[in-house]
Amino acid sequence: MINNEFEIIDMHAHLGSYALFPFRNNTPKKIAEEAKSYGIKKMCVSNLFACTYDVKEGNLLTLNGVKEVPSFFLFGGLLDPHLNEGEIETEFLNIDPEVSMWNELHPALHKYPISGNGYKIIMDLIKTNPKPVLFHTDEGDQYSQPEQIEELAKLYSEIPFIIGHSGNIIGGYEIAVGLAKKYDNIFLDSTFSRNYLGLLKWMIEKVGAEKITFGTDMPFINGATQIGKIYEAGITDNDRQKIFHDNAIKLLKIE
């Protein structure tokens, strides 16, 4: 087992199912049990139903899942930029008191660009009670290119933005790193599924470990794999402490 001395806070995980391949042992309790076995102390989750089918029902499923293991899960809220302004506001007001962060706003699955007006409506609401916003990004996808976050980061400097998957592909990582270096309120996410040798070390050299948050992306990905990349050679324990724990504590304002 992992000889892990770090308390881990997972800022990017999910509940629910996914059409493209089967999730196994994906009940909230099983996911929590698995994550705890790796040394994860808190996990922010959203149900994929909110990304793939219906955001209101999905948020409700998330909330029900969180209640199954309330000492462990944090509620990741979703909002759908396709809805009209009134519907978005109603859903925001409905869930905001329970939300720890906005995770994972999903322009790729919602097929709506980060640069679209719907996300400005959403950010206008979030800025009234700023909490971290994690956007799914993928440089290869027209809706979720990381560079589209720049305008939002400038307009909403009070909101911390996390570039989910850090751009996801070679080329995207470079753009994400450039943005995290340029803006105090932009952070990188360690949840990339291609574990390029040296990538995380390169990111730390470019932006510092204090600008990188940790996520497992469970139940897509095996959580130990995501932890393993933080143990790659050349990454210090001080860096690990920040990525696994300290950055999340600051962003989520939790103890």
Binding site: L20, F23, I170, L197, A224
Partner: protein, 252 residues
Amino acid sequence: MNEIFSEITFFDNNAFIGKHLNPYTAPIFNLATLIDTMKISGVSKSLLYHSASVSYDPSYGNKLLINETKDGKELSLVWVAVPEHCYTENDTELFYAEMKRNNIAAIKIFPRYHNFTLIHGAMDNLLTLLDENEIPLLVNQEEISWEEINYLLKNYKKIPFILQNVAYQMERFVVPLFSKYNNIYIDISRYHVYNGVEYLCSRFGSERLLFGSGMPVFSPEPIMMMINNVKISLREKQNISSENLLRLLHDK
């Protein structure tokens, strides 16, 4: 050796040396760099080919591999083969004799990159010899169609066929192939799906999964950490991390 992984020995089925396209590490990953990375991460042994065999010329790259690994003790060598190595039975016998002379442990093919298909018999002469001698054949998932895999497994039942770089989303392809054929194995360097290894072990046993790093493109630690932590027995972890590959290579 990295103390995190001290209970298990890791034999990497998926590594290469030479130039590569990973911009986050040394642009030429030579043997010394590979061995340093193996030592730091705790990988004991590697099965590797030379990237010049893919991007430039298979025969030239295969020679480079021999020349550049003379000092490597913890290595098993892989040659890249293409149809002209086995157009005739004579070509094939010459190629096979060279393989044996150089102690080559396995063959890797790149049908898409090297512009051929298996279905029309382009590699049959060599595949017959590999089959007779139970020498592993390696192919990256993205380099071969599922029809070619079926052709291969249907016609050559003794070749240990190792499908490498299998992506984490691919269970719906892997399970039917495992159900239908006994001589297919998968490299799990990219099969880091949640509960995926546990599920395949529960259905098919642990004997058909192989640890791989994907170095120098990918990092070994994530998959090592996964194997160390999956909810299977220590015996099964040892199978996946090294024993299965040792068995397929006849302990070479």
